[in-house]
């Protein structure tokens, strides 16, 4: 029913297709950053021109939905009953930024209350799981067993030891509310702790660094949570918590050892997929629907297959082969099931509805890299036609980290087409180039977007459009290119691509946008990345052990903003 266009970028749609613009517009192609934020450096500037590193401020991150679910399984075991949570939001493209900047709604808080009740009830009703979670059997509210539960379960849930005052507070509250029944006290205690802000939010404000005067570093317990939620997307395991208790996560060696250990675990693969899904904006696939009458190969399961393809490519690249991650944009190697093979018009022996097989496009194929997969092509198109503007904008914004400014106000959108003859999208988009106000931005967006014109709105190869042959020629920054395959080759060598990937990973890892004083740290990461042969696993390890991930500015004092 909800046949949807990808929820495409507003600006794009305003500018796209038949529309012409009036008004002046400078399209500087500036590096991505929000309004008022300092623009980043040119990725090719020498590092010593950048200002001395100083850390950004702390954020208060709430667990994302995935983190909450993963954590609950780690704390309580599985299976857990189904429960609903408030959906995550992704300002600046990342759930972690949403979790660190948005305010929970009342319904969101209620859903936490209900989820905790439900999960704890299910676990306590199962004798074996009850014993394993509690470690003893309480006989009366406030007894020694319950005290040990507060202490040990609390430490795991809050990712830090509880103070004596906290232990007493939780214990007393459960005793008071339970009205004499030990079972009730246990249920109330666990479910309350699992909706406590100490559990739901990660308070990471750092401590003075004794080795580095004037600098604040994250504490060992804060680092345990940071490492674990970045690399595993879940709560620290016993080993990591024990290392934090021993205060080992404030040293280079300690952080390195545990980051490497975490990266060797299967959970790191799951967490890495989370990053790539946001970096490539794969959520938008969920909203892609197509009319089968118009696109005969389209199926209900197609967007899921498209998503799986990307996940397999990422996993292969980052973990199975630990290869140069720039292959993401340039390599002919992919994974297809039967319906993707049909979509791509290739023969892939062994592929079925569910089985994906590796496939290598040969040099004569038009396809190479994620920008020629169904996922990218369908996400960045309309239900009935392609969108060179959307596709070009993705390349600019997501792959190269550039910002395309919004169009000016009071645009004149004259749609008239007196001739009435069918025209190709390329012909219609000519208006963008003829009108100087449009051309300011569209000269940057449309030419790379045109390179994909041989792929229709679902990603199928086509020779013709509007009765004539497709012309997919275009350019990137003035370098003329013939088609998407040419672009793949160029992007695989473009230094802006890995610099952008580092920046996006940093945002994902820190839950906020970078600040100007972190530019040098980001540049250092990019250089390490290059030196490692652009291995993403190595980038994760470098980031996790870098000062950019381990130091923090002091909390801004309350009342500092009062003069407003």
């Amino acid at each position: 029913m909800y046949a949807l266009v990808v929820h495409a970028l507003r600006t794009l749609l305003r500018l796209s297709l038949l529309l012409t613009l009036a008004g002046s517009l400078a399209c500087s192609g500036s590096i991505d950053g929000p309004t008022g934020e300092p623009r980043d450096d040119d990725p090719l500037d020498p590092i010593d021109r950048l200002p001395e590193y100083a850390p950004g401020g702390p954020v208060l991150a709430r667990l994302t939905g995935d983190q909450y679910r993963n954590t609950l399984v780690d704390l309580l075991g599985s299976p857990l009953p189904a429960f609903e949570l408030e959906p995550d939001t992704a300002p600046y493209l990342f759930f972690h930024i949403g979790a660190a900047s948005t305010t929970l709604s009342e319904r969101g808080a209620q859903l936490y209350e209900e989820a905790a009740q439900k999960a704890v009830e299910a676990v306590l009703a199962d004798a074996a799981r009850r014993a394993s979670v509690l470690g003893c059997e309480p006989t009366a509210p406030g007894d020694a067993c319950l005290r040990s539960v507060v202490e040990s379960f609390g430490r795991r849930a809050f990712r830090r030891p509880l103070s004596e005052a906290e232990i007493s507070r939780w214990l007393d509250a459960s005793t008071e509310a339970a009205e004499g029944d030990a079972g009730r006290a246990t249920q109330l205690l666990l479910s309350a702790m699992l909706q406590a802000p100490s559990f739901l939010y990660r308070v990471e404000v750092g401590e003075a660094d004794p080795a580095n005067e004037g600098r604040r570093r994250y504490t060992s317990h804060e680092m345990a949570a940071r490492l674990s939620y970045l690399l595993w997307n879940t709560t620290p395991d016993a080993e990591l918590l024990a290392a934090a208790d021993r205060n080992e996560l404030v040293t280079d060696e300690g952080v390195f050892e545990h980051a490497a250990r975490l990266l060797d675990d299967a959970r790191a693969r799951r967490a890495t997929q989370q990053f790539f899904a946001q970096y490539l904006d794969l959520r938008r696939l969920d909203h892609v629907e197509r009319d089968v009458a118009r696109y005969p190969g389209w199926t209900e399961t197609m967007t899921r297959s498209m998503r799986s393809e990307i996940e397999l490519v990422v996993d292969d690249l980052v973990f199975r082969r630990d290869a140069d991650v720039r292959e993401l944009f340039g390599a002919p190697r992919t994974f297809v099931n039967a319906e993707l093979a049909a979509l791509y018009g290739i023969d892939a022996p062994g592929a079925s509805d569910v089985a994906f097989v590796p496939y290598e496009f040969d040099a004569s194929s038009p396809r190479a890299g994620v920008l020629t997969t169904g996922a990218f092509l369908a996400m960045n198109a309309h239900p009935t036609e392609t969108s060179p503007t959307l596709r070009g904008k993705f390349v600019r914004e997501r792959v190269l980290c550039q910002t395309v400014p919004p169009p000016p106000d009071n645009v004149n959108l004259d749609l008239s087409d007196p001739s009435g003859t069918p025209r190709t999208l390329r012909e219609r988009l000519e208006q963008h180039r003829r009108n100087p106000e449009c051309a300011a931005c569209h000269a940057d967006i449309d030419p790379p977007g045109m390179l994909f014109e041989h792929f229709d709105s679902v990603g199928v190869w086509r020779e013709e459009e509007a009765g004539g042959p497709v012309d997919s020629s275009g350019d990137l920054d003035g370098v003329p290119l013939d088609d998407a395959r040419d672009l793949a080759i160029v992007l695989a060598e473009d230094p802006r691509v890995p610099a952008c990937m580092v920046k996006q990973l940093f945002r994902h890892a820190s839950g906020r946008l970078e600040v100007a004083s972190e530019a040098r740290a980001l540049r250092a990461l990019t250089e390490h990345f290059e030196a490692s042969g652009y291995r993403f696993r190595e980038l994760l390890l470098t980031l996790a052990t870098s000062e950019a991930f381990r130091t923090v500015a002091p909390v801004e004092p309350v009342g500092a903003e009062v003069e407003e």
């Binding site: 266009v5 038949l18 517009l25 702390p58 948005t102 319904r107 997501r398 106000d409 309350v558």
Partner: protein
């Protein structure tokens, strides 16, 4: 002059409000049933776990309080996406084609003849205000803020502009500076007083299509910057939210008491945080105390409807959601709602109307005839929603719609150029006598905030003015007020 001089300020205002409230026929609001009130009423607590008594039974046969009052006005927002079909009056003339105005009625005043698009709503004697536009000013940088999706939406929902930071980022991180109308009312001291309904407000969404994933692109209700109330999008979820109360009410009371410990934990954390995060946690604390209150009030459900079946069909979904909301309103589970039929700049494809593309793109493709059909359909759905409210009669003999003051609007006047002149404004319901129905007020180039202030006054709020950053007004459309 000889009367003793009273100190200026709060007290006087409060007294005025109280007098005003008393002068309204519906009185100062129903006192909700406390869980403990009910438990005391049950024989020795034996009724725990049995079917809950209906509110009607507790209120007596007339459904009214001993003093003859009922539960007070209901405030609602009905939002549809992408405005109206454009016409010359909106500046929508091009290439020699002049499209007619299908919205503005020819005559003003009471009993006007409805226009083509208002025809479905005429059966509910809605009022319309035409000619209005946002007066709120926006900074020139970054560009794009005065676009209808930004300025039009925010003024239509908050009376203020957007937060400038972030909206020009590729993610279009758009947010409000202040609460939207529904939240403003739900937290207003004069609306609920110290006796809020179990839910201060309920947010409902019908179409799940959305343009972006953050900001008003998928929700129309804000508490403030980066603080969204995402709508409930499925009938089963709405049912569970409103009506799912476990039998064991004593256990709920214990859960409520245990919330004290959760709140203590929040307060302890706050001392470590900076201003912004402290405010976020403060809001969380407010939510916790609301939930605690709700757990304590759990017995006050007067009717538990059957759990509906979820459907992807917009009309079926709207029907199911409307029925659930009507029961909740009749039972005084809430008195504030927002219903987002389609989200701003919707990508919803009205394939049932033969439209092949998302509505936002259809507007930009200049397909006026399709926009005409689509927006007529959205108005029919609006009327269909009002049918349910008008068809729900209360024990006092009035209908829910008689109690409602509904703000019906969209994010701009038209979706082709994102114009904001001639914004669509529908005011539905009688607001317990606070509103006159079936009136067309027209003020060319008038201030959109004036209509909002009118609506706030109609439900008994004593706001002196409304609107920000150039949109301020203390004027109302007196002809709409009862």
């Amino acid at each position: 002059m000889s009367a003793p001089k009273k100190p200026k300020g709060g007290r006087e205002v409060e007294k005025g409000v109280l007098e005003k409230a008393r002068s309204f026929p519906w009185g100062p609001g129903l006192k909700p049933l406390k869980r403990r009130t009910f438990l005391r009423g049950a024989v020795g607590g034996a009724a725990i776990g049995l079917a809950l008594p209906t509110l009607d039974a507790m209120l007596g046969p007339s459904g009214a309080h001993a003093d003859g009052t009922t539960a007070g006005p209901i405030f609602g927002v009905f939002f549809w996406a992408n405005g109206l079909p454009w016409h010359a009056g909106m500046g929508g003339e091009t290439a020699g084609v002049t499209y007619p105005d299908l919205w503005t009625p020819t005559a003003t005043g009471a009993g006007f003849a409805p226009s083509e698009l208002l025809m479905p709503l005429a059966r509910h004697r809605v009022s319309v205000v035409t000619g209005l536009e946002p007066k709120t000013e926006v900074p020139p940088n970054p560009p794009g803020q005065s676009d209808g999706h930004m300025r039009g939406f925010m003024v239509a929902m908050t009376g203020d502009r957007i937060r400038p930071e972030g909206f020009d980022h590729p993610s279009h991180t758009l947010t409000a500076l202040r609460p939207t109308l529904d939240q403003y009312v739900a937290r207003h001291a004069e609306f609920y007083g110290d006796q809020p309904s179990r839910f201060r407000s309920v947010q409902i969404g019908i179409s799940e299509a959305r343009f972006h994933d953050y900001g008003h692109w998928n929700a129309i209700s804000y508490n403030g910057p980066d603080s969204l109330n995402l709508p409930i999008l499925r009938p089963t979820q709405l049912h569970d939210q409103l009506f799912s109360v476990p039998d064991d009410l004593v256990a709920l009371g214990r859960r409520a008491r245990m919330m004290d410990a959760v709140m203590d934990d929040a307060r302890a954390l706050q001392t470590q945080l900076g201003a912004r995060d402290r405010a976020r946690l403060d809001e969380h604390l407010t939510h916790l105390s609301e939930i605690q209150r709700r757990l304590d009030l759990a017995a006050a459900t007067c009717e538990t409807p059957a759990r509906p079946v979820d459907s992807g069909d917009v009309t079926a979904k709207l029907d199911a959601m409307s029925e659930l909301l009507a029961i909740a309103l009749r039972c005084n589970l809430t008195r504030v709602f927002s219903l987002m039929l389609t989200s701003p700049a919707t990508t919803h494809v009205f394939s049932n109307l033969g439209v092949t593309d998302g509505l936002h793109k259809t507007c930009h493709d200049g397909l006026w005839d399709r926009v005409r059909v689509t927006q007529a359909h959205q108005m029919e759905l609006f009327a269909r929603f009002l049918d349910v409210l008008a068809g729900t009669t209360e024990p006092t003999g009035t209908t829910l719609l008689d109690r409602c003051a509904i703000w019906g609007t969209s994010e701009y006047s038209e979706g082709w150029k994102h114009g904001t002149s001639e914004m669509p404004v529908v005011i539905a319901g009688g607001a317990c006598g606070g509103l006159r129905t079936g009136v067309h007020a027209r003020e060319p180039r008038g201030n959109l905030c004036k209509a909002q202030l009118t609506l706030l006054r109609s439900i008994g709020l004593s706001e002196a003015s409304w609107g920000w950053n150039g949109g301020e007004t203390s004027d109302v459309f007196g002809e709409l007020l009862g």
